[in-house]
Each structure stands twice: as structure tokens, then as C-alpha cells.
């Protein structure tokens, strides 16, 4: 059973919802119930002749719903051509251009009470009262609907867009009217002839009250301001209008606008109480107005900003004060009203800027906004340091911080983005090898969560490695004696030294150009050798060149010769006896060769094994000089340096 009841309830709610989903919409303010509202009409459109009748007919349509609830009445003509808060309800025409608005209703209200309405028809559009578009009565019916307190609706006359002639009030709009002003009844009802009285100084003005319902209305008057009074304070009406005087005493009041209310109440009336607004405007010194023009409310600010304000007053501005979070920061007595705020010293988050303007009698106007302080991020390149010399891969290390967090850090080399990193540690491994020698700029940018940017940059020097080549001797060549090792070395930032190595042993370090080395081989065994030259630049980057040379056999020692008569033979032969010794710095000697040198050319006389150290050159002429060259020959059949003698 419970479930069934719930279902029935749901259906009922749904029906109610559907029934109200297309309903009227109320503005939220209305005329006092039972009042009669006079409208003056300016018949100032040249397009039709009887626009007043069309507007009055529209009034009559609204009056027909419940005349005792609200009556709109024609109160004569006017020359007013636009809307204005002047205490008079006005209908007029004015050419407002192609705005799309056929007519506009202006509803002045105080609390929930309508106090004045104006309707301006747009004379830009074509008007008709004889069945063409745009129909004056239809548009008047719509605009007067606003004037009685209805907002746009999704249906009927209060639809926002014009859709043809509709000169009668539909049920939706009528229901809205009845919700505000009722549909009549058998009780007394309070009607006032107006809803407001306006004063510009001390004086007396009259309004009227009557019973617009059944029976006798017994009413009481009350007011809520000590600068006004009402008389009489009570009365009875069976339908006739009673005049009530409102007196205003402005003594002791300064210039400005004042408002009060007269309340008419009755225990019998079905619409008690009704209220009459009383407005008093005294000319005098108006309070100043001030507006903060920069920054705007909600702006994010950082570092130093200029808070700008403009202030005006009919008698002049005495001073303008700037407050930050309630604390007075600056007072200015003349324009421009600008305050340079260094918000670097303020915490992140919301802060209030308030500006107060004082006029000459210390009336105050103020404006305030809230701004969000967000300090920019901070970023520093911690490694390498500016001026550092780099040559290979280098890790760029960055320290970044922000009060609200770092969004990302970008690394730039020479202006080109190389890497973006969103999380710490913020590092980039830069390979400087691929960059030319000289200065290069490393820049980093840090972004905070609001895309504020900070950057740091340094210049580092890329030092390219040195170069070296051994220009002499030529790799593979035979050498002996004082071997001159010459190099060609260079570096973009200078050479520190060149080291010369023979078979891996450092023999000389040369710090000055030309970088060379005289290798004395006198006490070096013959054979194959490696010569290496290593160059160091100013940051000890190195390069080397290496060659292979052959140190040929040294000359045999003590090579000597003597001409002798070989007396051992009968022929009396002369022989040249040649003797020598092996060089202790020779290894792997296979043999010796002895050449005879004649007239610049040499002729091999004999090859001897390496253990022979004497040779007899026989059958030599007694009186002839003989020149010999003796060379040691190694296992590679490589001849060494010759030893020469001349035998006489």
C-alpha cells in the first residue's frame, strides 16, 4: 500500500510540475494592490494617428482582469520622449535604431513595490493600429505586462519575441496578474491613488485612500521616518476617496536622497497593509564616488603594480586613501590617484585593495576589490658557473622555486629550446662536443602555475680539443743519429705543452712553439721504434700523433786499415788489412758489407758474417789509396751507418 501511495504522490507531483512548467514569471515587484496607476502618453509617432487608443485599449485589457486589484489609467498627454525616474509613468516613442527591441519597459522599484514605469516604443520600426506589423496594441499589451510585474514567459503575450498580432491577454499572463493582484472578493480592500510621493524640500503633499472592496474600510496610517508625518492618522471609507496629507520637515537634513514609507493598514481588508513610498531629495553636497580602475577584481598581481583610482564629487575631492588588507597605505590630495604597491612583500593569496574618497565635508565614497598575489618563480643555474670552460658533456643543474609550484623548466642553448622538464630535479645533460668553440649562452626559464616566467642565463666557453701531427720524420722512414722530430700543433685557446714519447717513454716536454724534439740515437739500440707526440691544451684536453720509424744499425767501431807486404808469398803481394769492432748498440746483425769507394761510387767487395772483424783486401797497388765503407747489416737485410777509412 505504501508503494502505491508513493506512486500516486509522484504522479500528483508530476502533474503539478507539468502544469506550472509553462507558467508566467513574476518580476518580484508590483504595484500596491487596489491602486490606480496613471500613465501619460506622448502620441509622438508619425506612423499612426491613433496610437493613444491602442495603448489605452491594452491598459483596458489588463484592467479587465481585476479592476479592484490594479487599474492602469490614461492621465493625459506628455511631451516626454524618453524614460526617466521622475515620478510619472510615461508611454512615448523614440527612434532607437535597429536594436531589435520594438519597445522597452523600464520598471523602477523599491523592495517589492513598483514605484514607476515607463514604456518607450522604438520609432525606428514601422507601427500599425490597423492590423499590420508592428501592432501597437500587441506590443503595448506586452510592455504593460512588464509594467504590472510580469517577466518574460515561454508562452502567450509575454513571450520575448514578437510573433504577430495578439490583442488579448492569454490565460498564462492572466494567472500571473491574479497571483499578484487577486481576482476580487467580498472583503474591504485598500486602494491608494498612487504608490509614491516625491519631495525636493519641506512641504505637504496629498495622496488618497479608498475602499475598493465590499463594506466599510477602517484604516490606520503610520510612517517610519522622523522627518515626515501623516494626517489624519485614521479614517473610514465605503468607496469614496479620502485625502491624506504627508508633511515633510527637512530641517537638520543634509543634501542627499532620503526615503520613507507610509503604511495604510486595516484589520478588515484582504490586502492590508498597503504602502506609499515617500522620497525626499535635498540638493546639497552629494557624497563622492570612487572607482578602482586598475587592477581589476580577481586579477593576479605580482611584483610592483600601480593601483589606479578615479574619484569625483560635485564639490570636489578632499583626499583619497588607499588601503591594503584594511591598513592605510597612502593618502593623496590631488590627481592622479595612483598608488605604487610593492606586492613582493605580501604573501601569496587573496588581498583586498580598498580606496576611500572624501569630499570637502568628509562624506565618503569607497570601492574595493580583491586581487590574488602570486609571486613569480625564482630560477638559478647552479652548475656550470658563468664563464666556465666546457668541452664535453656537461650537466646543467637548475634550482627553481615558486610559492605556488613550478609548472615546468625549459633549457635553452644559444636561444634554442633543448629540453622541457616538469618535475625536479631540473637537469639537462648538454653535449658541448657538437658546438663550436667560443662563448655559448645557457638560458633556463621557469614557469609557475599561472605561467609567470623567470629566467636565468650564463655564458660558458666551449673549448675544442687541440690538434697535432708529426711532420718529420715520415712514418716508416729509417733514422739514425740526431733525429729531429717536428710537429704541427694547434688549439683554439692555446697549447699548454707537447710531450714526446719514444716507445711509450716520455723523452721531452716542450712548452713553447715550435714543438720539436732532437732524438739522439747514439746510445739507442737499432730496431723499430714508435714516436708519439701528445699535445695538451689549457684545460688539459689532449690529442696525439704517432709514427713508426726504423733505427738502422750503428756504424761498426774502430774501423781501421793498414797496407802490408804479404811476405808470406813469393809474389810480394801488397794487401790492405781492415779490422773493426762491433757496435755495442747493434742487435740482430747478420753480416757486414765492405764497399770500395772510387770516384763517388762504391763497389761491394765482400759480405762477411757477423762474427768476422777482419778482412784482407789482396792484390792492392803499393802506391794507390784505397777508401772503404764498412756497414753492419741486420736480419732484415737493412744496412746501417757506414764507417769509412782510407788506406794509403
Amino acid at each position: 500500500m505504501k508503494k502505491k501511495c508513493r506512486f500516486s504522490l509522484c504522479v500528483a507531483i508530476l502533474i503539478v510540475f507539468i502544469s506550472v512548467s509553462l507558467a508566467y514569471v513574476l518580476l518580484g515587484y508590483k504595484w500596491p494592490v487596489g491602486s490606480t496607476e496613471p500613465y501619460r502618453i506622448n502620441e509622438n509617432t508619425a506612423q499612426v494617428a491613433d496610437e493613444r487608443n491602442a495603448v489605452v485599449s491594452a491598459m483596458s485589457s489588463w484592467n479587465g482582469i481585476n479592476p479592484s486589484g490594479l487599474t492602469l489609467s490614461y492621465a493625459g498627454s506628455t511631451s516626454v520622449i524618453t524614460y526617466s525616474y521622475n515620478g510619472s509613468n510615461t508611454v512615448c516613442w523614440n527612434n532607437l535604431g535597429a536594436t531589435g527591441a520594438l519597445a522597452t519597459a523600464y520598471m523602477w522599484y523599491s523592495g517589492s513595490t513598483m514605484v514607476e514605469t515607463d514604456v518607450v516604443f522604438n520609432d525606428f520600426y514601422t507601427w500599425s493600429t490597423s492590423g499590420g506589423n508592428y501592432d501597437v496594441q500587441t506590443v503595448a499589451l506586452h510592455e504593460l505586462g512588464h509594467c504590472v510585474g510580469l517577466n518574460h514567459s515561454s508562452t502567450g503575450i509575454m513571450r520575448p519575441s514578437y510573433s504577430g498580432i495578439q490583442r488579448s491577454i492569454d490565460s498564462d499572463a492572466e494567472a500571473g496578474f491574479i497571483a499578484m493582484y487577486g481576482g476580487g472578493g467580498s472583503s474591504p480592500s485598500i486602494s491608494l491613488d498612487r504608490t509614491s510621493l516625491s519631495f525636493t524640500g519641506a512641504g505637504e503633499k496629498i495622496f488618497k485612500v479608498r475602499n475598493s472592496g465590499a463594506g466599510t474600510l477602517s484604516y490606520q496610517m503610520s510612517d517610519n521616518k522622523n522627518w515626515m508625518s501623516v494626517s489624519p492618522e485614521s479614517g473610514d471609507s465605503t468607496g469614496e476617496w479620502d485625502e491624506i496629507a504627508v508633511n515633510v520637515d527637512s530641517s537638520g537634513l543634509g543634501g542627499g536622497s532620503y526615503s520613507g514609507t507610509v503604511t495604510v493598514s486595516s484589520g478588515d481588508a484582504d490586502n492590508s497593509p498597503q504602502k506609499l513610498n515617500v522620497y525626499l531629495t535635498l540638493k546639497g553636497d552629494q557624497p563622492p564616488t570612487v572607482s578602482i580602475t586598475f587592477p581589476l577584481d580577481g586579477d593576479v598581481v605580482t611584483e610592483k603594480i600601480t593601483v589606479k583610482a578615479i574619484a569625483s564629487d560635485d564639490k570636489g575631492i578632499k583626499k583619497v586613501e588607499f588601503y591594503l588588507d584594511g591598513k592605510l597605505k597612502k593618502t593623496l590630495k590631488s590627481t592622479p590617484y595612483n598608488y605604487l604597491w610593492n606586492c613582493e612583500n605580501y604573501s601569496s593569496g587573496s588581498h583586498t585593495i580598498k580606496v576611500k574618497a572624501y569630499d570637502t565635508i568628509s562624506q565618503v565614497g569607497e570601492d574595493s576589490i580583491k586581487v590574488i598575489v602570486d609571486q613569480p618563480p625564482k630560477v638559478t643555474i647552479t652548475s656550470p658557473s658563468s664563464g666556465d670552460i666546457v668541452s664535453k658533456k656537461v650537466t646543467i643543474k637548475v634550482k627553481a622555486s615558486d610559492d605556488n609550484g613550478i609548472k615546468k623548466v625549459e633549457f635553452y642553448i644559444g636561444g634554442k629550446l633543448k629540453k622541457t622538464q616538469e618535475k625536479p630535479p631540473y637537469r639537462y645533460r648538454w653535449d658541448a662536443v657538437n658546438y663550436s668553440g667560443g662563448k655559448h649562452t645557457i638560458k633556463v626559464k621557469a614557469y609557475d602555475t599561472r605561467d609567470q616566467v623567470a629566467e636565468d642565463s650564463i655564458k660558458v666557453i666551449v673549448d675544442k680539443p687541440p690538434k697535432i701531427s708529426i711532420t718529420s720524420p715520415i712514418s716508416g722512414s729509417d733514422v739514425i743519429g740526431n733525429v729531429s722530430i717536428q710537429t704541427s700543433a694547434s688549439d683554439d685557446r692555446g697549447i699548454k705543452k707537447v710531450g714526446f714519447f719514444i716507445n711509450g717513454h716520455l723523452k721531452k716536454t716542450d712548452t713553447k712553439s715550435p714543438y720539436d724534439f732532437i732524438w739522439n740515437t747514439a746510445s739507442v739500440f737499432n730496431g723499430a721504434y714508435t714516436i708519439k707526440a701528445v699535445v695538451y691544451d689549457t684545460i688539459n684536453q689532449t690529442a696525439h700523433d704517432k709514427i713508426a720509424v726504423i733505427l738502422i744499425p750503428h756504424a761498426p767501431l774502430s774501423f781501421s786499415g793498414q797496407k802490408q807486404n804479404n811476405s808470406s808469398t813469393l809474389l810480394q803481394q801488397f794487401i790492405n788489412v781492415l779490422t773493426w769492432q762491433a757496435s755495442p748498440m747493434n742487435e740482430n746483425i747478420n753480416k757486414y758489407r765492405i764497399y770500395r769507394i772510387e770516384e763517388g761510387s762504391r763497389t761491394l767487395l765482400i759480405e762477411l758474417d757477423a762474427t768476422t772483424f777482419e778482412y784482407w783486401h789482396t792484390d792492392v797497388e803499393k802506391d794507390l789509396m784505397y777508401t772503404y765503407a764498412l756497414v753492419a747489416v741486420d736480419s732484415e737485410n737493412r744496412e746501417g751507418v757506414p764507417a769509412n777509412i782510407t788506406v794509403r
Binding site: 518580476l27 515587484y29 524618453t82 524614460y83 526617466s84 525616474y85 521622475n86 535597429a98 536594436t99 531589435g100 527591441a101 520594438l102 522597452t104 519597459a105 523600464y106 520598471m107 523602477w108 522599484y109 523599491s110 523592495g111 514605484v115 520600426y125 510592455e143 512588464h146 518574460h152 514567459s153 515561454s154 513571450r159 520575448p160 519575441s161 514578437y162 536622497s257 526615503s259 564616488t289 570612487v290 572607482s291 580602475t293 581589476l296 577584481d297 580577481g298 586579477d299 578615479i310 574619484a311 569625483s312 576589490i369
Partner: protein, 168 residues
Amino acid sequence: MVKLSLQDLTNAADAIVLGEVKKIQYEWSMDRSVILTVVTLKIQEVWKRDFYDNQILIQFPGGKIGDIGLKVSDMPTFQKKERVLVFLKSIKNINDSKNSPSVSLNLLPAFSVFGYAQGKYSVDGNGVAHKSEYDLVSKDSEPDSILSLSELKTKIYSILQQDSKEKN
């Protein structure tokens, strides 16, 4: 109201601006005959006309000061921090006493919304533009009342290009 198409709005507007409402003020006009709403709009994009300022003022009758309020039929409403696309008309005579607020705000360009509520789209967080204030009737009958900002931009640019060709 007479329905204004997107083409009507685009061609007739002096400026078309996408922006965020930063401030809403209500002030009496200089002649104290009307309450004015003054909206400070921070410009995000300009789709028609150029601006040197990054903010403009939108001004129209309506608002509430103290006990007195003024409601004007068909006028748009703005909310602080609301993102809006507005079709604007320059207020040519800012110095007339009815159009000029009592605080001298003519430091910034001042505009009215062309077409009243029809000339304003409210843009939601998903980038969808709504012309909901005016269109109380049927979304189907208003093809341009709800559409994405990018789609709206494409349409408006197309209209502007067509208008430019016709003028040339």
C-alpha cells in the same frame, strides 16, 4: 523583440568581443534620471574591430542603488567572472548626461550591447556559448542559440568575410 540573426548581429555590431566580466557597478547618470549598469570586461579575444586597451566598459540602463532598483525589459544580465561573447555598439556620445555615469569612466572605450539580450552569449566552462537569456521559447527555433565557441567563431568570421567581399 524582433529576432536578430547571427548575421544581423555580426554585421551591425561595431565590435565583437570575447571576455571575462571583472567588475559590475551601478551608478546614477549625471542627470540622475536613470541608474546605469557599468560592466568592466577584460578582453580575451577580439573578433571584430581592434582595441588598444585590454578592457572595455559595457553600459546599459538598469541596476540597483540603495533602495531603488531599475529593471529594463530585454536587457542582458552579467555575472562577475562570467565569460561572455558580446556584440557591441559604440556609445558615441558618452558625455550626454543620460549616458554618462556620475563617476567619470570615459577613460576606457564604452559600448552598449547591440540587440540587448540577443547580443550576448554566455560561455560555459566547456566552451559552449549560450544565448539563454533571450531564447525562452524553443532551442530548435534558434539555430545559433547554443553552439560551441569555435563553431560560433567560424560562423562569425565567415559572415565578416562575406560582408567584406560585398563591400569591396
